[in-house]
């Protein structure tokens, strides 16, 4: 945080006085005031560097100065009495000349450019008024590169704003994109053709002001922005709940874009979140209902027969058991719960995940610790990440924490009177400073390059380190286990840093599967709380609604299988869940075998759907409306973008609605998502806070719906003219206040209902300026999402007596095996997206070179890994970050069985 004291000053723009925040950049405040100042190199998240010279304004010395001089508004700190003009003729000519210069090499290939229609360069060209080209020489040309399955490269369009490398390298820590060459032949790309390695490469698509970097996945089913029907959505590929925009055309999902939420994802998404959407178009998509015939084969079921079959199945069903899902909406899960009753509803996750999630939730609710937004994480002054490989389990959080390294730089900059927003100057000044990020992890971490210390060890080492830190912070903390001198020394430094921090952040997650590690993490938090330091605690969960599910009653999958052992299940209903990914296949097989009827509701074919007696096709996130609760307890609603004309595919809760109506003839059914949601908020106390928090389907602004389409939407009447010339009735959406039309309320809708960014003159994503009061600030009307969990901190934060359920000391030839998650592949749905699937690695086993030698193998060999009687063949990858005796195995990759980890295991070569 800057030491600069912020206060308001008065500046004069075009003869009128404005009160603005002192020390901000003139461009920043002018945009916030609504002035259309053209710019390229400035980006709210990246700050100012003064490269493009587009944001020029006239600055006057005083009231008598008539001539003034041209300054770049992005590099001009606002000070009291500043007098500027944005409309002076000389400055307008200058800005047009900058555009003209850029256009000397730009190919003007807008009609065939994917950026066309939402191009910041187009907008700025129009805004600066450059029309006729005087340049009549040859343009420079470049060769384009293959950059992998996500991003298309067309270097000729480049206007050299340097935003791409500033985002990719400075902001996101990527190494393999850079700028090469010089003068008017600078080249932005990789050293050679190849896949962009950064987990955040997709943001180049939105960061690039023109069409150099475009969305390769969307290119395959390209649609101009103005032809998309959009809806606000929530990413379903991890627990963080990043806000997205889903865009539709001709009944299919075309792309995902970032939807700004200051507190959550800001301007950026990870590549899994941006490109994982294509699973909805996968050929494994279930498009009709299936029923198991006597010959044990699943055969398609005509729509009109479905109800009959359900009736038959549910007839005489006394014992109906429901298995919910952490990737299904709150409404879908609740509908199942209300059908089966609390006693017969199970969470569809392993006992371990269930316990860890509950433990995390309980600690967060009862300790009084602060649960940070990702924005708040960026402001941490000391951070400690324990055992969670964030970039692979909660990628956006890793990017947020990377930004926290900037705080110490900003502090130094404040002393030297360099404004925080003067990005390059701040980075140059702080290049020798170290961050205050500490990491303890068994593997290489995405943040290692900026970490002050990165400790590599097994989970028990990390647990010991954490326990020592807690003890050093507070003497009352439990006695730590035996530990090395090195751990002790590191713990001293870290305890000291945490204790003296103003805004410390502790981060872990449940992916380790290690109870002791999580307990030790919470003990540091408790120790800080008891020492009157108020820490932030960020816990990454597994899936988009892990938190929502955890807040519902019910037990784990294991408990469901116990139930099945004791009494026969008449009907087992599995909601959007491939149970074979969740727990041991023996357990799942048993559960399914003990059930007379198995009804599976899901979007894609998987191992579980193959076991269904009745298989019902569910709509995907993009075709439905529902609520998810993110890891920080933020309830957020996603809305239907795609109108699925296939009536055989329904929202999961609508199928369950049918089932419930048949099962319980007194039940009248839920009319729409709202009536279901009202039942939920009435029924489950923890959700009562959410009552009335989401605009319901009847919500209108000035009696008008919110249009999904921009005012420039073309072809409503011609889209289907090849089939019929009459204009068809617009699809009706009973669940939301959105219209499938460009007609409706034309101004900015409430912040949670923003389906796209557009403003006159601003067709690109930069139109966002018109939706916020200031750059990097909250959306007008507040940030979307509802933080509804009450802190129940009547009691004091407590210590856990660390229960070592670690595999502990290993037997002869045994290794401790821990799970290694992968951003691409470890999450179920995104793995089925065509782009993402290209990025998925083959299953691998990480071993230290000593252990590889011990088993007489070499890297690249295929080994047999034996864990809990499961044997899998897997490729050995050498990783000397690992301690000898500790091995990491990739988990949840396609083709891999469920592995309960951490565990002891043996590796041998045939």
């Amino acid at each position: 945080m800057s030491l600069e004291i912020k206060y308001m000053v008065t500046i004069k723009i075009n003869g009128k006085d404005y009160s603005v925040e002192k020390g901000k950049s003139l461009l920043d405040v002018s945009l916030a005031l609504g002035f259309d100042i053209p710019h390229f190199c400035f980006h709210p998240a990246l700050g100012s560097v003064g490269a493009c010279r587009m944001c020029a304004v006239k600055k006057y010395r005083d009231a008598d100065d008539q001539k003034g001089r041209i300054v770049m508004s992005c590099m001009e700190p606002v000070a009291d009495g500043l007098i500027i003009s944005t409309e002076d003729e000389e400055v307008k000519t200058f800005r047009a000349a900058v555009t003209e210069g850029l256009m000397t090499n730009h190919p003007h290939d807008c009609p065939v450019c994917d950026e066309g229609g939402e191009c910041h360069l187009q907008d700025m060209t129009v805004m600066t008024g450059h029309n006729y080209r005087k340049f009549d020489f040859k343009k420079r040309t470049h060769k384009n590169q293959y950059l992998g399955p996500f991003v298309l490269h067309e270097m000729n369009r480049c206007i050299q704003c340097y935003r791409c490398v500033r985002f990719y390298r400075d902001y996101a820590g990527g190494k393999d994109l850079n700028v090469f060459g010089s003068h008017n032949h600078v080249y932005f790309g990789r050293f050679e053709d190849g896949t962009l390695e950064s987990e955040f490469s997709g943001n180049l698509v939105e960061v690039c002001p023109t069409g150099v970097f475009t969305d390769k996945t969307a290119h395959k089913h390209f649609t101009r922005k103005w032809d998309l029907s959009n809806a606000p959505s929530i990413c379903t590929h991890c627990s963080l709940g990043c806000n997205t925009i889903a865009g539709e055309r001709y009944d299919s999902l075309r792309r995902i874009r970032n939807r700004y939420n200051q507190e959550v994802n800001g301007y950026f998404l990870c590549d899994r979140g941006r490109f994982g959407y294509e699973f909805v178009n996968n050929e494994k998509r279930l498009k009709q209902a299936f029923i198991r015939q006597k010959n044990n084969v699943l055969t398609p079921l005509a729509e009109k027969e479905i109800v009959d079959k359900i009736k038959k199945q549910l007839y005489n069903s006394n014992k109906i058991v429901g298995i919910g899902s952490p990737r299904a909406s709150l409404e879908a899960n609740y509908s199942l719960l209300s059908l089966t009753g609390t006693d017969n509803f199970f969470h569809g996750i392993s006992e371990k995940e269930f316990q860890l999630t509950k433990m995390a939730l309980k600690y967060q609710q009862h300790s009084g610790v602060r649960i940070p937004t990702m924005k708040q994480m960026e402001n941490a002054d000391v951070t400690f990440i324990l055992g969670e490989d964030l970039v692979n389990t909660a990628p956006r959080m890793a990017l947020a924490i990377r930004q926290s390294a900037r705080n110490i730089l900003n502090e130094d900059a404040g002393i030297r009177r360099i404004p925080e927003w003067e990005d390059q100057a701040v980075r140059d000044l702080g290049q020798l400073s170290s961050s205050h990020i500490y990491i303890a992890s068994p593997v290489k971490d995405y943040l290692d390059d900026i970490a002050k210390k990165s400790f590599k060890g097994s989970y028990s080492d990390i647990t010991a380190l954490a326990a020592v830190i807690a003890k050093l912070i507070d003497k009352e903390a439990p006695e730590p286990p035996k530990h090395t001198k090195a751990i002790k020394e590191l713990a001293r430094e870290m305890a000291d840093a945490l204790k003296h921090a103003k805004n410390p952040l502790i981060v872990s997650g449940i992916s380790s599967g290690d109870t002791a590690l999580l307990q030790a993490t919470f003990n540091i938090s408790t120790a800080l709380l008891k020492s009157k330091v108020n820490p932030m605690l960020g816990i990454a969960l597994h899936e988009s609604n892990s938190m929502g599910l955890a807040l519902l009653p019910g037990e784990s999958l294991q408990k469901a299988s116990y139930t099945a052992k004791n009494e026969n299940i008449d009907t087992l209903i599995i909601l959007e869940n491939d149970l074979y990914r969740r727990d041991d296949s023996i357990l799942i097989d048993e559960l399914i075998q003990k059930s007379n009827n198995v009804i599976v509701i899901d979007t894609l074919e998987n191992k579980t759907t193959q076991k269904a007696d009745l298989l019902l096709p569910a709509s995907a996130f993009s075709e439905s409306t529902g609520t998810l609760v993110s890891n920080e307890g933020r309830a957020q609603r996603f809305y239907k973008a795609v109108f699925n004309k296939n009536e055989a595919v329904r929202d999961s809760w609508r199928w369950i609605n049918e089932l419930k109506k048949i099962h319980n003839n007194k039940f009248k059914g839920w009319d729409n998502i709202d009536s279901l949601f009202y039942s939920l908020t009435d029924d489950i106390p923890v959700f009562s806070n959410l009552k009335g928090k989401f605009p319901d389907a009847g919500f209108r602004v000035l009696d008008r719906k919110i249009p999904r389409q921009s005012i420039r939407f073309s072809g409503r009447t011609s889209m289907y003219a090849n089939l019929s010339v009459s204009e068809k009735k617009l699809p009706q959406d009973p669940d939301s206040p959105f219209a499938y039309s460009m007609e409706g309320f034309q101004e900015n809708p409430p912040s949670s209902l923003v389906p796209f960014y557009w403003s006159p003159g601003w067709n690109s994503v930069q139109a966002l300026y018109k939706y916020v009061d200031k750059a990097n600030g909250p959306l007008k009307g507040g940030n979307p999402g509802v933080l509804f969990l009450d802190s129940l901190s009547s009691e004091q934060a407590k210590y856990f007596n660390i229960t070592s359920n670690e595999p502990g000391i290993t037997g002869k030839d045994e290794l401790v095996i821990f799970p290694v998650y992968q951003i691409f592949g470890s999450e179920e749905l995104s793995s089925e997206a065509s782009g993402v699937s290209e990025r998925i690695k083959k299953p691998f086993l990480l071993l230290n070179s000593d252990d590889i030698t011990k088993i007489k193998a070499s890297a690249g060999d295929i080994a047999d890994l034996e864990i809990n009687n499961t044997i899998i063949s897997i490729e050995i990858v050498m990783d000397n970050n690992l301690k000898p005796g500790v091995a990491g195995v990739s988990v949840q990759l396609p083709g891999m069985p469920y592995l309960a980890l951490p565990a002891r295991g043996k590796v041998h070569i045939n």
């Binding site: 010279r53 020489f137 003068h183």
Partner: protein, 423 residues
Amino acid sequence: MEKPLTEYITPGSPPLSLNEYRKAGGYKGVDKALKTMAPAEVTEMIKTSNLMGRGGAGFLTGLKWSFVPMDEKDKPKYLICNADEMEPGTFKDRYLLEGNPHQLIAGMIVAAYAIQAETAYIFLRWAYKKAEKTIQKAISEAYKAGYLGKNILNTGFNLDIHLHTSAGRYICGEESALTNSLEGKRAIPRAKPPFPAISGLFGRPTVVNNVETLSWIAHITNKGTEWFKNLSISGTGGTKLYGVSGRVKNPGLWELPLGTTIREILDVHAGGMAEGYKFRGLLPGGASTDFLIEDHLDVQMDFKTVAAVGSRMGTGTMIILDDKTCPVAFVRNLENFFALESCGWCTPCREGLPWIEKILGAIEEGRGKMEYLDTLKFQTKYLAPGHTFCAHAPGAAEPLQSGLKYFYDDFVRHINEHKCPWR
């Protein structure tokens, strides 16, 4: 007439060794400064001497040093000698580097002492292979003699000097681009503020001075400010290395009192125009300065006096335009250089200079159009200081804008005759 900078330089002979230079009185200024003066006194002395930076901008050296924060916590600090002499027509630093490297090292020791920098770099133009050897030899002699390293002359002051040979870009002569380059980054200028004195090399307080400037320092501490001031004619202080290239009888480099007139340099020292050539104009101090013509020959070569007639003294090494050289080709050649040497960071420079170059090429090759002249005129205004990120493009605009002013008819003739009249 005293010639302190070049007194011990004999072209063709190796430079003086440390011992030889010491015997000749060199390094006395180092002894005096380190043993008898506080750092602040040295800075004050250089300020009083009115020494103006010889790299071309003429900024007061002592004033530059005085911006360096002097608290213990401000360490480490750095001194950089800018020896990346790449200004077309300029070869004065080369003469000093090859001829008397100890003079530079002595100056750097005192300068580093004044700002309390314990590490210094000489950023040398890649092509100066001979200078590379002479400097390296001189540095090792200085280490052996105890003028570099730890506890210099038992004063407790430490200094290491590293020689860095550049990869070769004109923009590296700009101090902040030089700094980036030295850090291993792209040679792109940095925004100012913050100035290097606050955040320079590796984000630390840094002073960047030119070779000729630094070569003065130990002389001034040795002989005093009055002596220095009295060396010049104009009162600015010091002598100046003036050079002349082009079609003169005796092209070369001379150390003369600051303020010597152009005419004297041209006629007396350079011997006037070569047989059969007539004078048309000159660039007074490198390629990035405005043309001067016949009318300006009696102007004194000093920062203020040259600025008063619409140009800059720059490096003080002139390039002469004669009547048998096409002025359009002359300017085109320069703009070709500037366009290639643009770092590519800011739009007006990156896109404007190649456009200028293409237009000049077209005009010279007979493909010119009258409207091109409007574009050229516009570009010279558009590439003004403050409009661009650094001084590269405004410098490049100088010979063009003054070329258009003084040789406009020649541009028009090219266009009307559809060919170069000189070909």
